[in-house]
């Protein structure tokens, strides 16, 4: 794997391979000595133009457990925030000998621009770009679903026949975008659920159905319900009238939780607005994978860095 920019680039075999490597990585994390020597001598740069402590420390833990050197390059208070261009930053990192750059950027497509620019030779991992994609989030989500559904027999398997309801602000969600392509590659069915204002108008050709009615969708007993974080500022732009109305119609409250089957998986990429898109009881229920998702994130990111930095490059 040369770069990881979008889950749309992954075939079913690619996706299953990454998830299987993530299983191997997860296995090593149950051992007494968790650190692997695999990426000794490699340098991974976390280039975060946007604040995201959770994602950054997840990548940092993944890189360190593979014995890579980690440089955190965060925009706040650095030359980047003083108007230094992506180009100049990339050239600096090239000079520093970065082998992989994990980039989080507020501008959709910034990782593509970096990968296509010729400014830097490193492998690029998209750690979230604008409202475009967040591929490692989708990988850790799929990994989590596969483990819950197939348990120890997960290796080599997809998510065939599984229905995943993704609920909330689809329009602005990079998590939803990365999930839909990966879930499709793995054989799962995606239903986007939310207010019409927050579901894109034109989804021609997308492997997703849409629903404005959460209760109707839950009545079909989807195997997975993934709640997305809702930003209350959206209400100022008239996407919905009030947090209260949003929670009533599209929140996973206790009453809706009670109607879910015992095996239904409740997911959330975090950070959660408890009481808004998800109730505390739902977040802490046995069906919830919120805490597993955090642990699985490290395994999935270890797999990505491993596949990017070890072995032959196919470019």
């Amino acid at each position: 794997m040369r770069h990881l920019l979008s889950t749309r680039d992954l075939s079913r075999d690619d996706a299953i391979h990454i998830l299987d490597v993530a299983e191997d990585m997860a296995d090593t994390q149950t051992r007494e000595v968790r650190k692997l020597p695999t990426l000794r001598g490699k340098t991974v740069v976390n280039l975060f133009f946007e604040d995201s402590t959770r994602t950054r420390i997840s990548f940092e833990a993944a890189a360190k457990r593979l014995s890579a050197d980690v440089i955190n390059f965060s925009a706040k208070g650095s030359s980047v925030s003083k108007g230094e261009s992506l180009k100049d930053t990339a050239q600096t990192l090239e000079e520093m000998g970065a082998d992989a750059v994990v980039i989080r950027h507020g501008a959709s497509g910034a990782p593509h621009t970096l990968a296509a620019s010729g400014w830097i030779d490193a492998g690029i991992v998209n750690a979230g770009d604008g409202t475009h994609e967040h591929p490692t989030q989708a990988l850790l989500d799929a990994f989590t679903m596969r483990r819950r559904i197939h348990g120890t027999a997960s290796r080599g398997r997809g998510l065939d026949g599984i229905t995943v309801a993704i609920v909330g602000d689809i329009l602005h969600s990079r998590v939803a975008r990365s999930n839909v392509w990966l879930l499709s590659a793995l054989g799962a069915r995606t239903v986007f659920v939310g207010p019409p204002t927050l579901i894109p108008l034109d989804l021609t050709g997308w492997p997703a159905e849409t629903s404005y009615d959460l209760d109707a969708t839950l009545a079909t007993q989807p195997e997975v319900v993934m709640m997305l974080r809702i930003q209350t500022e959206r209400m100022k732009d008239a996407f919905f009238p009030s947090p209260h109305e949003y929670a009533r119609r599209w929140g996973l409250d206790d009453e809706r939780l009670a109607r879910l089957g015992p095996d239904t998986i409740v997911m959330h990429p975090g950070p959660m607005n408890r009481g808004l898109e998800i109730s505390s009881r739902a977040a802490d229920s046995p069906q919830s994978t919120v805490r597993e998702q955090v642990a699985n994130g490290v395994s999935a990111r270890m797999a990505v860095l491993y596949l990017l930095l070890s072995g032959e490059r196919e470019d």
Partner: protein
């Protein structure tokens, strides 16, 4: 001192006839089978298409204020290289061209170049701020004789202000050239709204944001009995509205850019900011509709919206990049590729949409005159049989943000004559001192 007599031998006229064209003192002195007078310069135009010098109604020359992108001199060199002899300079310079003094300054910069006639466009509102009218009358009465007013880059979105502007310019046969973009519907917009934008995670610029303003403006134009020009029409719906307005007798004209005739939104998939432009590249259906609109006369002209930007404003992530692309050097080739070689229009129509009609809309006497005795000798000679892979070397302005680099395009400008003075010969720009001296002596004469 008079400029040397010049004879163009064996050119193909827009109507398809073959003729020689004689030029004396910047004016066409003869068209037909002619003998060269002694000492005359001869241009062999065998197999070349002759057109009246091209007129661009929508050029951003960037001077004053953004000379790192373009100057009047470099922009008019780009114009000459593309076969243009007249460019209308948009008002969004810094300072904004919103007073008589500033439009006269722009006019003088054009005269100091000589590569093309520069006709200033005045701002509609002071500082393009959309709050109060600029001194439209003073600009109209100035030496620059401004007839076309535009806040291009931003839309005159306030309906009352638009109404007043349309009414006011009736006093001097002016027109408002509107950049039709409802601002509230396009907050943060990055590309055409649709499936591609959704997939790329880029905020959408919906067609309705253009169409709603055009619909409002044609109705206002009808109501006050004025004249409207619609800049860079980009959607099928806009073409429909303008077709309806014209059928109703409303005095509206419209332009389409070369890039909206050729390029589509899927080019954004590369996140290559050379394809970022406002209005954005649209769908294949929209491209088909604007081509049909140009062919049937609903759209009157092609205008480049030549928008130079320095490298650092394009060499960055898409959402952070500037809107716009250079277009003067490639415009004729793109029109040939999309309209002529497809059989939609002929060369006489090219002469109309790229010369006669834009000069008429801008009320600029002398420019866009037919290739006939007594016309100003603004002449473009094109080798329509040529093909080239468009490259940086084909660009003559200061900026290289062309979406056509690496693309194969038909046609090549072989010679451009501005007021009888060759600005391009054998496909190469002539030196500035030669051009400006000769143009000065012609204009002093006439």
């Amino acid at each position: 001192m008079s400029t040397p007599t010049l004879l163009i031998r064996g050119a193909t006229l827009p109507d398809g006839a073959r003729a020689d064209i004689a030029v004396v003192d910047g004016v066409i002195a003869g068209v037909g089978t002619l003998d060269a007078s002694p000492g005359a310069m001869i241009i062999d135009a065998d197999g070349l298409q002759a057109l009246p010098g091209l007129v661009d109604l929508h050029t951003h020359l960037r001077e004053p204020g953004h000379e790192d992108s373009e100057t009047v001199l470099t922009g008019t060199r780009a114009a000459a290289a593309g076969g243009f002899t007249t460019v209308f300079a948009m008002a969004n310079t810094s300072p904004v061209a919103d007073t008589a003094g500033l439009v006269e300054q722009e006019l003088a910069l054009g005269e100091a170049s000589g590569y093309a006639t520069v006709q200033p466009i005045g701002a509609v509102t002071a500082g393009l701020a959309g709050e109060r009218l600029a001194e439209l009358g003073a600009m109209a009465s100035s030496r620059a004789r401004v007839r076309l007013f535009s806040d291009d880059g931003v839309c005159v979105s306030d309906p009352l202000l638009m109404r007043r502007a349309l009414e006011y310019v009736k006093a001097f046969d002016g027109a408002i050239a509107q950049h039709a973009q409802e601002p509230r519907l396009t907050v943060g917009a990055q590309m055409n709204e649709g499936e591609v934008a959704t997939r790329l995670g880029l905020a959408g610029w919906p067609a309705v944001a253009e169409e709603a303003i055009i619909a409002r403006d044609v109705l206002l134009t009808e109501h006050v009995g004025s004249r409207l020009h619609v800049c860079h029409v980009s959607t099928a719906g806009s073409v429909e509205i303008i077709r309806w307005a014209k059928a109703r007798g409303i005095d509206v004209t419209a332009e389409v850019t070369p890039h909206h005739l050729l390029l589509t939104e899927d080019l954004a998939e590369s996140y290559d900011a050379r394809f970022k432009v406002n209005p954005p590249l649209r769908s294949a259906e929209d491209v088909e509709a604007v081509r049909a609109g140009l062919a049937d006369g609903t759209i009157d002209i092609v205008a480049t919206d030549h928008a130079p930007h320095p490298e650092q404003h394009k060499d960055c992530a898409w959402p952070e990049a500037a809107n716009g692309m250079v277009g003067l050097e490639s415009a004729l080739s793109v029109v040939q590729a999309t309209m002529v070689d497809t059989g939609l229009i002929g060369w006489a129509d090219v002469a109309r949409v790229l010369s006669t009609a834009p000069a008429r809309i801008g009320r600029l006497a002398g420019a866009g005159a037919p290739l006939a005795v007594g016309s100003r000798a603004d002449i473009t000679l094109v080798d329509a049989a040529a093909t080239r892979t468009f490259a940086v070397g084909d660009l003559a302005g200061r900026s290289t943000n062309s979406p056509y680099l690496g693309r194969t395009l038909p046609g090549r400008v072989v010679a451009t004559l501005h007021r009888g003075v060759p600005t391009v010969l054998d496909g190469a720009l002539r030196p500035h001192d030669e051009v400006v001296g000769a143009v000065r002596s012609v204009t002093a004469h006439g």
